[in-house]
């Protein structure tokens, strides 16, 4: 490697930094003012690319391309404003988690809308008119468009800087970022400010997407793949700081460029290909920054975000009626495989639903009683699945030890490592870090082809011996799910569970009576991860193959929806929510071609109409009826 090569890559890094900056900065501005983490930011960016594609191909020529960028920016800004007016305005006062979910529902709806309009083929746009050539720099050729991109980031940064410093709108944004309540006090029309801020943030995403058209094809995976990048930029830079966002983008892009420039190197006799690190690099940067500077490079400690969530009711042991009901359900579950004579699909679906119950229960454990909102729970599911699958394929183990030892052990190791970092943060920052770790696991699995099979995954992981029989495997799943659920339930009611809930309710008070807040949260994290690993192992053998899809953010979010569907504040919620979600998804996938949009709408209904979840709503109802009965008419 020469100095020239290194410099050349560093220049390339500047171009990438501009892209990254445009991905993150809008999200940062939106968060700063509204305190909403907009999961749909990647979707807005994706729309930007698609709209720019349509302009460039339908209108054509220089006007179609350059004008298309302007049109995309404005159109996506308008869409952002619409999302704010129709949806977000209703949930500013809702708990954080609901806001995240609502915006995720938008992701699903936009995803299907895009599929409906543009189809599912990757669409490669034309090259930028007037910038199709390349320039020779340091003996290498650099595309003119990349050089143009280098300047776009700093230019946008300057414009935003001017906007914030010199205009009334900008001053309001800064004031709101520092103290949201103050803006209300100033007598500003908050609703309009928020709408405009959303339009600005969305427009920036649209611009970022449109500018990317000559460099990557428009495709439907952009939305979710981008959330990770966007979060990293915002969190590393500090939420709400635009300069921070550029700095973060620059650091990440340059580190990636350095990895590429280093390429394969031999250190102490071990050869290592640094370019492999590119996918993981940004998440490593984020993990390091969050640990050293928990509020990001340029961020300030968040003022206490006042949520109006009502404190939870005390958890009570199940009453006789609930226990009886559980007994009946269990009996039905045990005899379910007998139904497969009439409905062969019953066992298959049953296995999926049980695994979902275990997955959701393990996530609920840290979310509900633990109060830690994980957005990367799929990591432990994936570690369990890959652990079990590889133990069988590469390690030659048989089914049971792979399932009962390797799967939980792999997840345990991951949860212990990641959890140690995560419990040092709280709130949105903790959510982001869990997501980042989830993405790290995903990237490693995706890139380490020789071991994990890369995008093909591991195939032929079928249970052996007796377990090869579907019914018997079903009973094993049932037994392990029931044990796992009962175990976590027992822990919730045991002294440790009380301690965990104490730490969630009031960390200050908990520390003042001698509870080790971090240690308790860490142990909870590990317990949940380990149990989730078993669910992952069961999944591997149920499907016979594992792909990186198993670890995707999509699954982490499915888990959150399952937990909320059941109700966050009830111990038995996830046992219902997991299977119900699976059933819904299964039915939707088979009956509705646009099932994602349908699922998104279901989520929106939960968030807007049943914020307590199904089980929570039933409990609420029962209480209401009981109170009415007690009161004389």
């Amino acid at each position: 490697m020469t100095i020239d090569a290194l410099l050349f890559q560093a220049l390339n890094g500047l171009a990438s930094a501009s892209s990254l900056f445009l991905i993150g900065v809008g999200l940062s501005i939106i968060f700063g003012v509204s305190r909403i983490v907009n999961m749909a930011h990647g979707s807005l960016y994706m729309l930007g690319i698609y709209i720019a594609y349509s302009c460039a191909t339908h209108i054509g020529g220089a006007f179609g391309f350059w004008g298309g960028i302007v049109i995309s920016t404005l159109l996506v800004a308008a869409i952002g404003a619409m999302i704010e007016i129709v949806l977000l305005r209703r949930i500013y006062r809702a708990p954080e988690l609901f806001q995240l979910l609502a915006t995720f529902a938008v992701v699903l709806v936009v995803s299907d809308l895009t599929l409906w309009i543009w189809g599912n083929e990757d669409l490669l746009g034309p090259r930028a008119p007037g910038m199709t050539g390349a320039v020779e720099i340091l003996g290498r050729r650099m595309p003119t468009y990349d050089i143009f991109m280098m300047f776009v980031g700093p230019a946008v940064l300057l414009v935003l800087y001017w906007l914030l410093a010199r205009t009334r709108f900008g001053r309001l944004i800064r004031a709101a970022t520092q103290d949201r309540e103050m803006v209300g006090a100033l007598g500003v029309d908050q609703a309009r400010l928020f709408t405009l801020v959303f339009a600005l943030g969305a427009g920036l995403a649209g611009l970022g997407g449109a500018l990317q058209l000559p460099r990557e094809p428009a495709n439907l995976a952009i939305d979710l793949n981008l959330i990770g990048d966007a979060f990293v930029v915002v969190v590393v830079g500090g939420m709400g700081s635009i300069t921070g966002a550029y700095l973060a983008a620059l650091i990440i892009a340059e580190i990636k460029a350095l990895c590429i420039a280093l390429g394969a190197q031999t250190i102490f006799g071990v050869s290592f290909n640094f370019s492999r690190l590119t996918l993981v690099a940004e998440f490593l940067v984020m993990a390091v920054v969050l640990i050293v500077r928990p509020y990001g490079l340029m961020g300030r400690a968040q003022g206490l975000i006042r949520t109006l969530a009502i404190p939870e009711e005390p958890v009570r042991a199940a009453d006789a009626m609930t226990k009886g009901l559980a007994g009946i359900v269990l009996a039905v579950l045990v005899v379910m495989p007998l139904a497969s004579a009439y409905w062969p699909y019953a066992t298959v679906l049953g296995i999926d639903m049980l695994i979902a119950a275990l997955f959701a229960t393990s996530l609920h454990f840290i979310k509900g009683p633990g109060g830690m909102h994980s957005f990367g729970h799929a990591a432990y599911f994936g570690l369990g699945a890959y652990g079990a699958g590889l133990a069988v394929k590469a390690g030659g183990l048989s089914t049971m030890p792979a399932l009962l030892v390797v799967a939980p052990l792999a997840a345990f190791a991951g949860a212990a490592l990641f959890g140690w970092f995560c419990v040092r943060l709280s709130g949105v920052y903790l959510a982001m870090l869990t997501l980042a770790f989830g993405q790290i696991v995903w990237s490693i699995v995706y890139q380490w082809e020789t071991f994990t099979g890369g995008s093909n995954g591991v195939v032929g992981v079928w249970p052996q011996g007796l377990l090869a029989d579907r019914s018997i495997y079903y009973w094993l799943v049932l037994a392990l799910t029931v044990s796992g659920v009962m175990f976590l339930r027992t822990v919730i009611f045991a002294p440790f569970g009380l301690g965990l809930r104490a730490v969630r309710d009031n960390p200050l008070r908990a520390a003042a009576i001698g509870l080790d807040v971090r240690r308790i949260q860490w142990i909870a994290f590990i317990l949940a991860g380990t149990v989730c690993g078993v669910a992952g192992g069961l999944y591997a053998f149920a499907k016979g193959s594992i792909s990186p899809e198993t670890i995707h953010v999509g699954r982490s979010i499915d888990g959150i929806v399952m937990v909320l569907l059941g109700g966050l504040q009830t111990v038995s919620g996830p046992v219902i929510g997991g299977p119900l979600f699976t059933l819904l998804q299964d039915t939707l996938i088979r009956q509705v071609s646009y099932w994602r949009a349908a699922l998104g709408i279901v989520i929106l209904i939960i968030v807007l109409v049943f914020p307590q979840g199904v089980v929570g709503s039933i409990a609420h109802w029962r209480q209401w009826l009981a109170e009415r009965a007690r009161r004389p008419a």
Partner: protein, 263 residues
């Protein structure tokens, strides 16, 4: 001998010297009031004594051993109980569970993963609740309690580890006069009967002058007077601070949950 020795304690936030070289002692079995106008630095002192904040300078010694850089957890194990200015309990627990939690922690039984909490230390918890007059509400959910009752529950929690020193930041804020006097009389009894030393802050001068053994006065982070009720009442500096003749001591009223009562 002194239970607690505070020596040259200091803490700044940004440029503001919230506590500026404060020195005082709490004797064994003493009921000591720390008073001062809003923003004087009382809560900040408490936060440094119980380990929630690390002092910029100075030392805190409990029974002669320095605790200034220990965590709240370690300081609690050393025998310091604490109540907060804005009462802190576990809102999702029943009243008795709040106390059971503290007892479990005191006995080192937090890391038990099986066996329900229900019967553990139940009698002892009820006895503690009885001491603060809350036994009859043991099984209520603590989020439904009246604020005065939350304060009493918090006291029961703080007593769970048999503390030798109790730090009470405005224990009676938000209480009616009658309730206020009852609670302070209760705490005073604890001091007399169990030999617990109590350091408390309080805005009602009636309460302070009637019950406190000794009074320490802070203003703008500095200790300006120390002594018994009579000498504090007679102290010119204190009068200046409290009667508003010395404008230097006036501060913009910080947001307070209670109606501050200046005599």
């Amino acid at each position: 001998m002194s239970v607690l020795e505070v020596a040259g304690l200091a803490k700044s936030f940004g440029g503001v010297k919230a506590v500026d070289g404060v020195t005082f002692n709490v004797e064994r079995g003493e009921f000591l009031a720390l008073i001062g106008p809003n923003g004087a630095g009382k809560s900040t002192c408490f936060n440094m004594i119980n380990g929630q904040l690390t002092p910029d300078a100075g030392d805190v010694r409990l029974d002669g051993r320095s605790i200034a850089r220990l965590s709240p957890r370690q300081i609690w194990s050393a025998g310091v109980g604490r109540t907060f200015q804005i009462a802190a309990t576990f809102a999702s627990f029943t009243v008795i569970e709040n106390v059971q939690m503290a007892l479990l922690s005191h006995r080192g039984e937090v890391y038990r993963f099986v066996g329900g909490v229900g019967p553990r230390h139940r009698e002892e918890a009820i006895a503690l609740l009885d001491r603060v007059g809350m036994a009859d509400q043991s099984y209520r959910s603590s989020r439904e309690l009246a604020y005065g009752d939350v304060k009493r529950l918090e006291l029961a929690i703080a007593l769970a580890n048999d503390p030798k020193l109790l730090l009470m930041d405005e224990p009676t804020a938000g209480m009616a006069t009658k309730e206020r006097n009852e609670l302070i009389a209760l705490v005073k009894r604890l001091v007399v009967e169990h030999g617990i030393s109590v350091l408390f802050t309080e805005h009602s001068m009636d309460v302070v002058f009637t019950f406190a053994d000794r009074i320490v006065v802070l203003a703008r982070g500095r200790l300006i007077a120390e002594g018994d009720a009579a000498s504090i009442r007679a102290n010119k500096d204190v009068q200046a601070v409290y009667l508003g003749t010395g404008k230097v001591f006036e501060r913009k009223g910080a947001a307070r949950p209670s109606g501050a009562q200046a005599p």
